[in-house]
């Protein structure tokens, strides 16, 4: 199976730096095009999904693993902070940090046995984990409010509360740019190269001294922590959280965003999140045809751009530029 390493940007970091600048510019300039709070909300949701996807892309696109249960980490981050803040009165920055730390710890504990599996067995294991989390959250309604969800206090400290779409937009925008910067730096580091080697062939990588277990675990834990972080932020932003956020359908959505946008490309993950978050909002005007259209768009895009949106567009642009010389 040809690894997407062929589609990955070269480690000479001009291309990633350009894409990071482009992203930062986009985040800074987008508000000029957003007419009302509803559009801000969509932008914020895109940003939050993108944070998860960039992390998930590190696991899928670079380290070559698969996770069909990442919504579980997202949900645990969300419910963790909600629970600590709402039931125990923790200040929300503390509950958020604690939730993310707890999920990272859980991912570390669970990842060690699970990451020994490969391919569809790993897919099933992560899928199973996600479902277990979702069912437990939905069933223990005394603690979590059950399937109807629970309220979450807003993010804030010492009386100052982060509220309103504009404020959240900037916070999420900055966090997204920071996440992509972190991801791109990781990819260019020895660890990132180790991940790409693992993706190419675990066997060969271990032959040159790369410990697969340690590196896979690192990618897994990092992506889980990012998912939990985004989940906790989502909970505080929306003021409400339901178990649907931990469902396996959501997990599938996240993987779809990563692959759609282009694996082994952090920008691809952001683009994938952006397109697949806004598309349902746009397609809603078609009412009952929405699902059909969404499915068709997914299928056609993947058939004609099998490497994903960003790598394919990148290649087309490069070819066009090459022709014009």
């Amino acid at each position: 199976m040809a690894s997407p390493a062929a589609a990955a940007p070269p480690s000479a970091s001009s291309a990633p730096r350009r894409s990071l600048l482009a992203l930062a510019a986009m985040v800074a300039l987008l508000p000029l095009a957003l007419p009302n709070n509803y559009t801000y909300e969509v932008a914020i949701l895109v940003g939050l999904n993108a944070i998860v996807c960039v992390g998930l892309n590190l696991l899928i696109g670079y380290a070559g693993q698969i996770s069909l249960g990442h919504a579980g980490f997202f949900g645990l981050g969300a419910y963790g902070t909600a629970f600590l803040a709402a039931r125990y009165g923790w200040p929300t920055p503390a509950s958020l940090a604690a939730a993310v730390a707890a999920v990272a710890l859980l991912a570390w504990a669970v990842g060690r046995p699970i990451l020994r599996l490969k391919g569809h067995a790993l897919a099933m294991a992560t899928l199973g984990m996600g479902i277990i989390v979702a069912v437990v959250i939905a069933t223990e309604d005394r603690y979590t409010g059950g399937p109807d969800g629970m309220s979450v206090p807003p993010l804030g400290i010492a009386g100052h509360v982060l509220a309103g779409e504009r404020a959240w937009y900037w916070v999420v925008g900055v966090l997204l740019v920071a996440t992509v910067w972190l991801a791109q730096n990781l990819i260019d580091s020895p660890r990132g190269r180790a991940w790409r080697a693992l993706h190419g062939s675990e066997f060969a990588a271990s032959a040159i001294g790369i410990d697969p277990a340690r590196h896979k675990l690192a990618a897994f834990v990092l992506s889980a922590a990012l998912a939990a972080f985004a989940g906790a932020l989502t909970a505080h932003y929306a003021g409400f959280i339901t178990p649907a956020k931990a469902s396996f359908l959501h997990s599938i959505e996240l993987v779809t965003m990563v692959v759609f946008g282009g694996m082994a490309s952090s920008l691809g993950a952001v683009v994938g999140a952006a397109v697949l978050t806004t598309l349902p909002q746009l397609l809603t005007v078609f009412k009952e045809y929405e699902m059909v259209l969404l499915g068709a768009v997914l299928m056609l895009t993947m058939i004609f751009m099998p490497q994903g949106l960003v790598p394919t567009l990148g290649k087309t642009l490069a070819a066009a530029r090459g022709k014009s010389r």
Binding site: L45, A138, D148, G149, S151, G239, F240, A244, K287
Partner: protein, 378 residues
């Protein structure tokens, strides 16, 4: 002088006419697709039908109604996004919607912040308890449904029951409410079983209940496919104890699916389902019969209580608009709270600052399924 007056009068008249052309925007987000589709689908149809009828009769306050409805597919996040869209982009005057409790609760922060009158069509009592300034609801709460069932059980001398419920928000909420109020009616719950989403067979759970000594009746809190399967399994296992369902299955579809197994099942439901058999003296008859006939004539399908909730919501809003004399949101909200004696499909609504559901248990009738049709239980 005269020409200036004429000019002023003309421009005033023009301004009035211009604002009179402005339609009253009715916002809605409903679960038309997704797991709660059989809630949202009749709700949407009902809203469309009655907005049309109201417009044909001249509109409200001399203005036409314009319905802006989105499909939130039972997803709380979509409900939030659409509510924001309705408030910020579509500039609606009030919102009727929220087929499920999860979706309703998710938008409550937005509603309260924006000061938008909102009438929810969902069931759980948590929507109006504690009372939220801008949030009202039309269906009987699940607690009221439990109480109605327990009243009937008590009358039959039942004191020990078993519960079986599904995974949904409706199921779990009703189960929690029933467990909470059971003691008030001297009812003890001996067994508490559950089934999952998409489960195809509940004989294991029912078999456990069957083998629990002392169970005098079984109550199934759920809606959708699950209760129909439970009903068939109930008959298959030959369990003879009385079987109660929730108002979640108050539609002909349930009887069609469960077939013979539904014979003798009891459930609390709005008088809407037995509209024809109500005595003429029944105060609800006129409204429920009217709605039933109009819905069935237009859509060629059986009426459901869920569509009735949407009817009630719209009529309450229209009544409030008339009382307030304008679409000013604060005035409309106050007007809703002052609505008294408005007869809907669920019963007579009497709102107050402390009661945002406005119904008492009398609108909930105990029905029994006999020969494949609804009858009032004796």
């Amino acid at each position: 002088m005269l020409s200036r007056t004429l000019l002023a009068a003309a421009s005033l008249a023009f301004a009035c006419a211009a604002s009179a052309q402005e339609p009253i925007r009715v916002g809605a987000f409903l679960s038309v697709t997704g797991p709660a589709a059989f809630l949202g689908d009749p709700e949407q149809k009902t809203l469309e039908l009655y907005v049309e009828k109201l417009n044909a009769a001249g509109g409200v306050l001399g203005r036409k109604l314009q319905l802006i409805a989105y499909d939130s597919a039972g997803d709380a996040e979509k409900a939030r996004a659409f509510t924001k869209r309705l408030i910020e982009q579509d500039n609606v005057d009030f919102i009727v919607g929220g087929s499920t409790t999860g979706e309703t609760m998710a938008v409550v922060p937005l509603i309260e912040q924006a000061g938008m009158p909102f009438i929810s069509l969902a069931g759980a009592v948590v929507i109006v308890e504690p009372v939220k300034k801008w949030v009202f609801k039309t269906p009987h709460s699940d607690r009221q449904a439990c109480e109605r069932i327990f009243v009937d059980m008590k009358a039959r001398g039942t004191t020990k029951i078993a519960l079986i419920s599904g995974p949904g928000g409706f199921d779990k909420s009703m189960r929690a409410q029933c467990m909470g109020v059971a003691k008030n009616y001297g009812i003890e719950i001996l067994a508490d079983e559950a089934y999952g989403a998409g489960d195809t067979d509940m004989t294991a759970q029912l078999s456990k209940i069957k083998n629990t000594a002392g169970v005098q009746a079984v109550l199934n809190c759920g809606f959708g496919q699950g209760p129909a399967i439970v009903t068939k399994n109930y008959k298959q296992l030959g369990i003879s104890q009385p079987f109660y369902q929730s108002h979640g299955v108050a539609s002909k579809g349930y009887i069609q699916l469960a077939g013979d197994a539904a014979e003798g099942v009891r459930l609390p439901a709005a008088a809407l389902l037995v509209a024809e058999t109500l005595p003429d003296s029944d105060p609800q008859k006129k409204v429920v019969l009217g709605y039933k006939r109009e819905y069935e004539a237009r859509f060629k399908s059986d009426v459901s209580t869920f569509g009735g909730h949407a009817y009630d919501g719209l009529m309450i809003a229209v009544e409030a608009l008339k009382k307030a004399g304008s679409t000013d949101k604060a005035k409309v909200r106050d007007a809703i709270e002052s609505v008294r004696g408005l007869m809907g499909t669920a019963g007579a609504f009497n709102f107050s600052p402390t009661d945002h559901v406005g119904l008492d248990v009398s609108g909930l009738r105990m029905l029994e399924i006999r020969k494949g049709d609804w009858t009032l239980a004796k």
